[in-house]
Every structure is written in structure tokens, then in C-alpha cells.
Symmetry: C2
Subunit: 419 residues, 2 copies
């Protein structure tokens, strides 16, 4: 008797996974290793930015009052009484019609309240003339105009991109608290699998899911533990999975989740006492994707078919890992685009089609990346996105507007945007 | 006398840089280190995919001719003569009303030309019955339907994402030829710069550009050589830059490219005999960005202002490095979006505003990330994109459609999409 499984919608499957994901602890890393991690503390302005009133240009610091009435016909002359570079502070207090030569970023000397740009002067020895008047604070970057001391600049949970590195450096964060990465174990199933370096044998194929998932993890900065290949023997499988569950925050298997004679994983989940969050999702490819949870460890039972495995990882494992790392934007970014080819298959379930997306000033366009059965590998290589077609729809025509999820972006979005 | 510089359009500046970029040599890496590199060889199908006619489902391999006439009222019975798993090959040739139990991915036995899914049967011991007829090749994945032996699957020049790893594994690429990464040296200028771990001093700020550029390079998988801080002394600067040029494929400096008394770099470019590709770009921030080229080495003279530095890197250094690595998609991806806040400043030059972009099923929206002067650091931390406003325009209003370039995507696009 074949087990009947009840498919649940993709959105509900994702919710069931995300409900169980718990943030991991944090750890301290030096700034130069912080890129790509998730902030576990908020970044606070340790001083105002700018930290002092400063010049945004190369030029001369003056008193604006002395510039009143300057014009092309009636130029006003100033005497240069000091030269300062960035990082040095003038000891001079500027008096009437006096000026200090100042460079970009240097603090305004006492008395000065405006900066004349170099290009706005005619210089003659240690004097120069100007042909326009300057308002108080003209060409001055005010202390604190960018950030006030104590202001929260970046929230915990944010992906650390290069701009955040700049801010942390500015505020003296030589070390920073980031979320720990989950320990992820990887188990391939199936005696049909050869290693990448093996020659092909009759009836067998090489293990492509293992290296692919390793790269999907690397994309998030997560190292994996290669736990080997599950033998086609239930007892040995059970021991291997049990050990993996004890050691890891998540265990990913590929294959073995169908209802066939050789698919042991459902039985193993049962023996482990794992909560099976779902074992059938209303999606193609990857409908057999199973996620279970036991002792705070996830068991991601991905399909053995490469495209289905890829899709299951991106939809379920990826956001869970990002949430475990405290990331506030764990979902794949959304785009809407015009289909540039017919896609005539009906879609009883939500369909995720590996696709090539490109946005141009003339519009955003997308097309299937190639051959789109669930066991296809070549279209994976060509796609940078998924076209998502809702379940219960007929085929789509060239020119139709479709939903797209982008792959391989540094930062995701806060919400799953599809039904 | 202040030097007058002629600004050139951003697009032309990028073209001048890209014209000089030369692909570096290639090197061989093992598959598990290939993620994130650029392919220097094309990936060819070393065998057909599937490599044999195979079953896409768990079920029974049969002869379709034996299923003719099956219906709910007139079920046809089959005898199971063999069981095979994936990776094994049946020795049996299927005869009339015989079937072989087959699992997903297993090769079709001789004689069979269709697969009955498990769910389509009623099983009784070693027989089962079906209620519908099957066409020849129904539920069969044909040899070569995904890829033919010898077919080119991925072109050289492609960024290696996880899907490409899967394809390489499938075809036995245990090692692969990838482009070498450029050797990039980093020099900060300005005696106003403190180290990240230093306490703040009057008139000084911490060096945020160095760590930021290091992260911008890390984003492309490029390590950098920290060559120190340029002293405010022209001769010492010259020696340091000259040594850097000899050792690196590109030298990045931050600051020192203006026309002020303390800006030595223009003179150093001259002494080095470097071709100055441009020293003024019609853009804000970063108009002083200078790129020079000597002995096949790039000198990227970025502004010392954090936002300008960031922008100059993304617009000029990033695509040059990607092209040096042979990447066929070196430019930032484009999106069009609706502005959700007024931006009232006029734009004499093209303006690049760090921005927060989000696309939803209701449209794509973008807003400035915060304070937007060129010396701002906090908006860098908040943005995931640039709003690009064309030069020669007045302010923009909430609701206007604007051009956006995305930051932090794994794969870029083939062309610079803006004028």
C-alpha cells in the first residue's frame, strides 16, 4: 500500500520551517573578517560624524561677514595667515579679512564660519580675492550632520556588506559581535552515486547534489561537514543520521524521501522521534521535499533530483539558516518580469522554473533557462532566478507578466512575497 | 594657478577603463574551491544527460503495447519479474505482461518502453494491475534529452555559481580552469587617518576607506595587499607608488587626487609616465576620481570621501577587475523603480545616491538611504543600491520613475545600461 501524502502550499511549508528556526549564539570577530556575516549587535555612533565642523573642499576658511558685498566689480581681498592639512588643527583664531588655507576634511579654525573653494579665488602670493559673498556656514560640514553621537546606525540582524564595514571602521569597531554559523551536515543517498573523479559506470551518475549544496552553503558563508553517503540499508542509515543529528544544527540529505522501497528516510524520521513538518509540498520540482525537526536540529530531506534539490534548498534551507544566523532579510528577492517565451505546460502545483532574468531601461524580461524537468542539471547552470508560476494555472504565453525570485543576491528581503 | 580639469561623462570614463583591462592568465582549482571564480574554460558535456533512458519515478517498467485497452472496468495485470534500484542494471529482458520494479533514476530494462508510476497501480504480491493504457516512452527520461555528449553547457567567462558546480560535478570536472585574480594593492593617503583601533584625536578621523575597499574586493573574491598609508611627502609617496605598480595588477589609492596643495598623486602619475585616462568625471559624488594606467597596471585614484570612494570603486574598479578575471557580465545590474521620497537637489552632474531598493508584487520602489553628501558614511551602511539621476536634471519628486543600479549581486550584466 502506497502512503498517501497531503501536499501543503509552499508558503505554509516555509512558515512551518521558519517557526522552528532559533537564532544561534554570537561570537566576536575582528573587523577584517566581518564581511558577509550577520550583525549580532547594533552599531552605535561612538562619536558625531563629522566629529567637528569641517571643510568639504580644498579652499580657505573665512568669516562670512567679511565677504559681504563682494562682486566681480568689487572684489574683496583676504590675507592667508595659516595653512592646515586634514588631521591638523589651526592654532589661529581668524580675524577680520583673514583666511586659513584649508584642505578637504580639515576642521574649521576658530572664528571661521565659511569656506571659499579654491576655484572661487584668484590667488596672489599670500593673499587672494573673491567675487561673491558667502553665507554663514556656507561650504561647512557641520559636526553631527551625518550622525549624532549615540545614534543607532545599523541594527543587529543586518548582513554586513562593505558599507557597514566602513561605518564600523569609522566608529572604532575593531571587533564586532556576529551570529554564529550553523553546523550543517551533508549526507547523500543512493548507491547509484559516483564521485566526481570516478569514471562513469553503467546505470550510475556522479554525485552532483553534494558539491552543489556545498556551494549553496558557501554562498551564505557556511562551511559544511561531509558526512558521507547513506548506504541502501535502513539500520546503517539510522545510525549515521542519528550521529549527524547529535553533531549538527541541520542535516541535509538528498534523495531517499520518496515512497519507494529504497527510501528509508521517512522511517528514520519516525525512529528518531522527529516532528515531520511536511513531507509533500504543492510545488514542482521538489514536491517530495521533507523537513523534520528533532532536538533543535533540522533535517532537510531534499529530493535527489538536481533541480528539485536546488529548489528545495533555496526555498526552505536557505531562509532557515539565515534566520538561525539572526538575519532580518532571509527570503529571496522578488521581481516582476515579462516572459519572453511561451511556457505551455499546465501547473497543477506552484512551479519554480530556473530562468534567466534581465532588467533593462526598456523593461524587465525573463525566460526559462532551458530544459525544465526536475532531473535537469543543465538549466541550473544557466539560470540566475526562478520564474514562479502559481499552482492551478494553465500555460503562460510570451508577453505575460510573471513572478520572479532572484538567486545569488547578497541581501534578501524581509518577507516571502508570494502566496 | 588652479588646474582646470575637464569632466567626462560616466559612461565614457567606464569605457576608457574597460578598453585597457586585459584578461589575466588562468589557473587550475579543484571543484570544491571553484565556487565564486570565473570559468576560464567552457564546460562540455562529457556524456549525454541522462546517460541512459531512465525512469523519472518510482514504479514499474513495462512494455506499453501490453497496456493497450486497460481501463477501470478492464484492469490489466502484470507480473513483477525483477526489482532494481538506481545504480543497478536489470539483466532481465521484459516479456509480455512482465514488469520490473524500478526506482527513480534507474535505467529502463531491455524490452521496456514505459513506466507505470507506483501511484497508478494496485499491488497484490508480485503482481499489480493498471487501469489506463500507456503510450510508448510515457514516463521515460530519454538519454540525452537534457544534454547531448559534446554539447557546450557553460561558456568560459561565466561566474561559477552553485548550479554550475552541479554541472561540473555531473561531467566529472574534479578540477577546472578559472581566471587568476588580480593582485590589488591598497594605499590610503592622509595624515588625518587613524587606525580603527585608535582613540579619536582632535581633527582626525579613522581610516574607513581601507577596510571598506577590502570588503568590496572580498565581495569579488579578491584578496588585497595593504601597502600602508601614503605620507604627506611627495618623494616618499612616489617611491611607495612606484613599488606598488611593479608588484600589482592594480593599485588603489584613496584621497590625494584633488587639486589641493597636499594632493601629490597627479604629480606622481606624471613621474611614473602613466596614461591618465581621466581625472574628472561628471558625477557626484566622486568627480575627482582619477584612473591612470602604466605598464599594464591600473592606478585607481579614488576620492578620500567615503561615499565617493565607494562609488568610484563600484563604477570603475569593479568592472575592470571582473574583466581582468574574464567575466562576461562585469556591470552592475539595472532596475527601474518608483521614488518614494522627494529628492529636490539639482543634478548638474550624474548623481549616484545610495539607496534602499525593494521590489514587490505591487511595484519596485526606491528611496535615498539617508544623508547624501559625498563625505557621508552612514547612508553607505543603509543602502543596497544606487539611484542614478542623469546630469542636467532638476530635482525629482516622489512618484517619479528613476534608474537604479543594484549592489551586491553575485552576477552582473553584460552592458552598462545608462547614458
Amino acid at each position: 500500500m502506497v502512503e498517501k501524502r497531503q501536499p501543503i502550499p509552499v508558503k505554509e511549508a516555509i512558515e512551518r520551517v521558519m517557526e522552528r528556526a532559533r537564532p544561534l549564539n554570537s561570537e566576536i570577530v575582528p573587523l577584517d573578517l566581518a564581511y558577509g556575516r550577520i550583525l549580532a549587535e547594533s552599531i552605535i555612533a561612538s562619536h558625531s560624524v563629522p566629529p567637528f565642523d569641517r571643510s568639504p573642499y580644498d579652499g580657505f576658511a573665512v568669516r562670512s561677514i567679511d565677504t559681504n558685498g563682494a562682486s566681480g566689480d568689487s572684489r574683496i581681498s583676504f590675507k592667508v595667515v595659516d595653512h592646515i592639512g586634514a588631521g591638523t588643527v589651526s592654532m589661529h583664531t581668524i580675524g577680520e579679512r583673514e583666511a586659513v588655507r584649508i584642505m578637504t576634511g580639515a576642521p574649521l579654525p576658530d572664528g571661521a564660519d565659511a569656506v571659499v573653494m579654491l576655484e572661487q579665488t584668484v590667488i596672489d602670493g599670500d593673499t587672494f580675492t573673491i567675487r561673491k559673498s558667502f553665507s554663514p556656514l556656507e561650504n561647512v560640514s557641520l559636526k553631527g550632520e551625518d550622525a549624532k553621537e549615540g545614534e543607532m546606525i545599523v541594527e543587529a540582524g543586518t548582513y554586513i556588506h562593505p558599507g557597514i564595514i566602513a561605518v564600523m571602521a569609522t566608529f572604532g569597531y575593531a571587533k564586532v559581535s556576529v551570529s554564529k554559523k550553523p553546523v550543517v551536515g551533508l549526507l547523500a543517498t543512493g548507491t547509484e552515486l559516483l564521485e566526481v573523479s570516478d569514471p562513469l559506470e553503467p546505470g550510475k551518475i556522479r554525485n552532483s547534489n553534494g558539491p552543489m549544496i556545498a556551494a549553496q552553503l558557501a554562498r551564505m558563508g557556511i562551511e559544511y561537514r561531509l558526512l558521507g553517503t547513506l548506504p541502501d540499508d535502513e539500520e546503517a542509515c539510522y545510525e549515521l543520521v542519528k550521529k549527524a543529528v547529535d553533531e549538527c544544527d541541520a542535516v541535509i540529505t538528498t534523495g531517499g524521501v520518496s515512497v519507494g522501497d529504497f527510501d528509508f528516510l521517512p522511517a528514520i524520521y519516525k525512529r528518531l522521534g522527529a516532528d515531520v513538518l511536511f513531507n509533500k509540498v504543492a510545488m514542482r520540482p521538489g514536491s517530495v521535499t521533507t523537513v523534520a525537526h528533532v532536538n533543535n536540529t533540522f533535517l532537510f530531506g531534499l529530493s535527489g533530483n538536481p533541480s528539485a534539490c536546488f529548489t528545495g534548498f533555496e526555498l526552505f534551507a536557505r531562509p532557515a539558516f539565515l534566520l538561525m544566523m539572526g538575519c532580518d532579510k532571509p527570503y529571496l528577492p522578488y521581481e516582476k518580469a515579462i516572459l519572453t517565451e511561451d511556457f505551455t505546460k499546465a501547473n497543477p502545483f506552484s512551479r519554480f522554473i530556473r530562468a534567466v532574468y534581465e532588467s533593462t531601461p526598456n523593461g524587465a524580461f525573463v525566460k526559462p533557462a532551458g530544459f525544465n524537468k526536475s532531473n535537469a542539471v543543465t538549466s541550473i547552470a544557466r539560470g540566475n532566478s526562478f520564474i514562479v508560476l502559481p499552482g492551478g494555472t494553465r500555460g503562460f504565453q510570451k508577453g505575460d507578466e510573471v513572478d520572479v525570485l532572484l538567486l545569488g543576491t547578497e541581501e534578501g528581503v524581509e518577507q516571502w512575497m508570494l502566496d
